[in-house]
Each structure stands twice: as structure tokens, then as C-alpha cells.
């Protein structure tokens, strides 16, 4: 079976501390995707995190606007400071924006009901995904996630880069209690048995494919998913069907 992939965990742009020379432009990304059967990708621009959300968001919109394979995630800040341009959900749909991310630890704010309660409530109702990059240490930790989900239990959360050591002790309670929590696959693939045991316990519907590119390799995640000890229909769900379903269910109107 030849699997196709929809990658949900990629950033583009020039990384400011690029000692490993890993930065990748949208053009370079697009040229690399076909040989690995990656048909679509959800990306954010590294400037959203490292320069300023407003600067990065606009760069991202420009990069994905004429590239059909790419979808985007915008970065948000507490609305009270009015630093980030707000788009209507109708505009977000037109601009192929399929989620938000946040970097409270890097951007120095507290993610909770006080700062973003109304906004998170609307995202919850609209089934609009929020992507959390946990391992970077710049977004949120598990205590934050547990706290947010207590208040917004139906929020669609995609937990990216859940940690370099197996994180089942953190993530399985979340999968058990909150139906709209999903795990991005790249580091689950790194953990021995991570994909197989999560599927066995919670079903393949709770995992969406990601690579962590350009920080990690596409080939690592792909080779593991293709050879994982799960059924082909589960591989397809993880590889692209689940994220397509999540996007389809967003209530933009």
C-alpha cells in the first residue's frame, strides 16, 4: 500500500539560531514533498514565534496564498494589547488558515480564561483547532494544557512535539477525558510502541501525522508509520484522513 501524507507539523522561514542549517523556505519545502508522497502540509512561519506574531502571520499568509499544498496556522496574543490583526472566520477560510498556535512562555503572557477566555470559547464552539508545541518549551506545559481543557473541555487541541521521552503518562489521561484532543505523530513514532499502543488504547482517530520538519526528518516519521503494526485503514487515518476530517468540521460560517 502506498500511503499519502498530510503533514501538520512544519515550520518555514529563516531560523534565527540556525547552527544546524536547517531553515527551509516554502519553495524548498514544496519541492521536497512529492518524492515522499506528502500531498499537503500545515505550516507556520518561524517569525511568528521568534520575531513577532503580527510580522510572522503576514509572512505566512503571503507564503501560502499561492501554494495550494500549504495550509496555515496563525499565532495569537491576548487581544487586549491589540498587536495582532484579527481576521473574521470567513476570511480565515479564504486564506486557508486551519488553526491557531500560541507561545505564552516565549511571548510572555498567561494562557487562561482571563487573557483569552472569550476567544477560546469561540474556538471551542467552532471546532477550530489550536496547535500546542510542547517540547519547544516556548508554548505551554502539560499543567497548562490540563488547566485549559478543564475550562474548555471540547476545545480541539492538537498536541505537537509532545516530548522527547515517551509522554503517555501525560497524554493518555487527556485522550481518555477530552474527545477533541489529538496527538501529532512524529514523536509518537520515535517512542518504541508509541503509535501501536495509542491506537490500541484510543483508536487511530486520535493521531494526526506530523514530521517536525525542518527540525527533524520526514523520512523518520514516514518509515515508522508505514511499518507500524497497525491495520492499513488506521495508517490512512493517521497519515491524512483524520486531519482532513478535523479541517472539514471547522465551522467557519
Amino acid at each position: 500500500m502506498e500511503l499519502k501524507f498530510f503533514d501538520v507539523n512544519i515550520w518555514i522561514g529563516k531560523f534565527m539560531n540556525d547552527e544546524r542549517e536547517i531553515s527551509v523556505s516554502a519553495e524548498q519545502l514544496i519541492s521536497k514533498m512529492p518524492c515522499l508522497n506528502i500531498e499537503k502540509a500545515i505550516v507556520y512561519h518561524i517569525s511568528q514565534r521568534d520575531v513577532h506574531p503580527q510580522i510572522g502571520n503576514e509572512k505566512l499568509l503571503k507564503e501560502i496564498s499561492n501554494r495550494a499544498q500549504l495550509y496555515g496556522i496563525l499565532t495569537i496574543l491576548p487581544p487586549q494589547t491589540n498587536e495582532v490583526k484579527i481576521y473574521s472566520f470567513k476570511q480565515l477560510k479564504e486564506k486557508k488558515i486551519v488553526g491557531f498556535n500560541l507561545f505564552p512562555k516565549k511571548h510572555n503572557f498567561i494562557l487562561d480564561e482571563i487573557s483569552l477566555g472569550d476567544f477560546l470559547s469561540e474556538l471551542e464552539q467552532r471546532k477550530f483547532p489550536v496547535f500546542f508545541d510542547i517540547m519547544s518549551g516556548l508554548s505551554v506545559d502539560y499543567r497548562d494544557i490540563y488547566s485549559i481543557l478543564k475550562n474548555f473541555p471540547k476545545l480541539t487541541c492538537i498536541l505537537c512535539n509532545p516530548g522527547i521521552w515517551n509522554t503517555d503518562r501525560y497524554t493518555w489521561p487527556l485522550l481518555e477525558k477530552f474527545p477533541n484532543v489529538y496527538l501529532e505523530s512524529s514523536l509518537l513514532s520515535l517512542y518504541e510502541g508509541g503509535i501501536e499502543e495509542t491506537v490500541k488504547r484510543f483508536g487511530s482517530e486520535r493521531i494526526v501525522f506530523g514530521s517536525g520538519f525542518p527540525e527533524r526528518y520526514f523520512e523518520s516519521s514516514i518509515l515508522q508509520i508505514v511499518n507500524s503494526e497497525i491495520e492499513n485503514k488506521d495508517k490512512e487515518k493517521i497519515a491524512y484522513k483524520n486531519i482532513e476530517k478535523i479541517i472539514k468540521e471547522i465551522e467557519y460560517e
Binding site: E21, W165, L190, R216, Y217, I222, L223
Partner: protein, 266 residues
């Protein structure tokens, strides 16, 4: 993509390319859930990715060698073709009979495993001296956990050992992670130092740099299995753009030569 990639994608393994994982463990670990820690399950999983041999230190032996090394003996005797053992040294346990037991079970143990960061004892501490003296005299493998910024097993401590002991085969577990320039310098300067790739391959860009500087002859495939997945790390070698020849050396030939210098042992 090279033809190895296509074959790994289709079959999960390559018939004439066995894999040796030089850095493995077994058993429960306090800090993390690991679903596949029993030897039977590990052996089954090794088949999927064509891993012929895992050289391991049992988790218990790292933290309580009085228990763990006995389990290693039992497991290797049960699965002699699948597993070989490291004799783990915890210098905080004043065990007098380490060397005696290592020699007594020479069908089981192929080297020593040190974990200085966890035991909080630097590599050059006198409590390791008898092990290094013995290993140097016999040319034995020592796999040590190493990490760039560590005062216990960072570049300074590693160099102290390599300057003194010329015949041990010192495998730098995790390749002095994060001190990549120093890693390269050490491999260039010391013939008896080898790199092991666990935790290196989940950072894109590092392996490419190392191979471009030192080639692939002294790089060994290791994963901390059952912490990490073989296919994930094998995929990284392709992601790094290595040639079939380089991949063959890293996955198999280099470790084979180290473990079986006479060419016998398959």
C-alpha cells in the same frame, strides 16, 4: 532516494542488511512508560526492522547492578542470537567481583556500560579505575553515556580517559550530545573512540555535519531501544542523505567489526 529506502518502505527491512543496535536497554524505567520492555516482545519487534542483534544494559543494572546484571545473564542465555549484554557499573556500589563476573560470563557480556551523569561520578574518578585498567589491558568495549555540557561525562572527562587509555574501545553514547564540534575533534584525535547515534538522529542537520567531517567508519547505530523505535532512527539516516555504503557501515559493519574483530560471531 536510494534503493535501500524503497526496500525499507516496502518490507521494513533489507534481507542482506542486518542491523546491529549497539545501545539498548530492557525492563521498566522509572521516568517513562515503555510498552515493550520484555525480551520476548523486544525480539519480536527486532524482526520487523531487521535488527539482528541488540547489545543492552538492563535498566535495573544501571541503577541497581546487583539485580540487573543477573537478569542480563539469564536473558542472553535464553536469546543468544538476539541479545548480548553490557556489564553495568554503578560506582556507588562497591562491588568487588565486577571483573570476575564479567570474565566468568564471557558468553554474555561484550563490554561495560557506564552512566556517569546519573551516578554523579565523573569518568576519571578513581572508582572506575580498575574497570578502565582491565578493559585497556584486554581491549574491551566500554559504552559510556556522554553529553556535551556534563561535568561527569562531557568532553573534558572523555578526553582524560582517551589520553590515558589507548586500547579500550570507547563508545561515546549519544556522541557527546550538543557539543558537536568537540565530538568531531575527539573522533579525529583518538583512534579508539566511536560515536553512537541515539538522540543524535532526532535533530536534523547534526549527522550530516558529522559524516561530512569524519566519514562513516566510526559511527555506530544505537537507539536506546526499547525507548526509541528502530524504523524512526533508520529513517533519519535516509533523511540525512547518506549513501547506501554509509548506511550499511553505520547499521551493521562498524559494530560488527567492533564486536567480532576476528570476523567470527555471526
Amino acid at each position: 532516494m536510494n534503493k535501500y529506502w524503497n526496500e525499507f518502505l516496502k518490507k521494513g527491512k533489507i534481507k542482506n542488511l542486518p542491523v546491529i543496535d549497539i545501545h539498548c536497554h530492557m525492563g521498566f524505567f522509572y521516568g517513562s512508560h515503555m510498552p515493550y520492555t520484555e525480551p520476548e516482545k523486544m525480539a519480536e519487534r527486532m524482526e520487523i526492522s531487521g535488527v539482528k542483534l541488540c547489545v543492552f544494559a538492563h535498566h535495573y543494572s544501571l541503577f541497581d547492578p546487583e539485580i540487573g546484571n543477573k537478569i542480563v545473564i539469564e536473558v542472553v542465555r535464553r536469546f543468544p542470537d538476539k541479545f548480548k549484554g553490557y556489564f553495568s557499573i554503578n560506582p556507588n556500589y562497591n562491588l568487588k567481583d565486577n571483573i570476575e563476573n564479567f570474565e566468568k560470563y564471557n558468553d554474555v557480556f561484550v563490554g561495560f556500560k557506564l552512566l556517569p551523569d546519573y551516578h554523579k561520578v565523573p569518568l576519571s574518578d578513581r572508582r572506575y579505575k580498575n574497570i578502565f585498567d582491565f578493559a585497556d589491558e584486554k581491549g574491551i568495549i566500554i559504552l559510556s553515556h556522554t553529553w556535551g555540557g556534563s561535568i561527569y561525562n562531557g568532553p573534558i572527562e572523555v578526553e582524560k580517559i582517551l589520553k590515558k587509555y589507548k586500547k579500550i574501545k570507547l563508545i561515546l553514547g549519544h556522541s557527546l550530545h550538543s557539543a558537536w564540534d568537540k565530538t568531531i575533534e575527539i573522533i579525529k584525535n583518538y583512534e579508539n573512540a566511536y560515536l553512537e547515534l541515539c538522540a543524535v538522529m532526532d535533530e536534523r542537520g547534526v549527522l550530516e555535519k558529522i559524516v561530512s567531517e569524519i566519514g562513516s567508519d566510526k559511527i555506530l547505530f544505537g537507539t536506546d531501544f526499547p525507548w526509541f523505535n528502530h524504523h524512526y532512527y533508520i529513517g533519519s539516516l535516509f533523511g540525512a542523505g547518506l549513501s547506501e555504503n554509509e548506511i550499511r557501515k553505520i547499521l551493521y559493519l562498524n559494530s560488527f567489526k567492533l564486536l567480532f574483530p576476528t570476523g567470527k560471531g555471526e
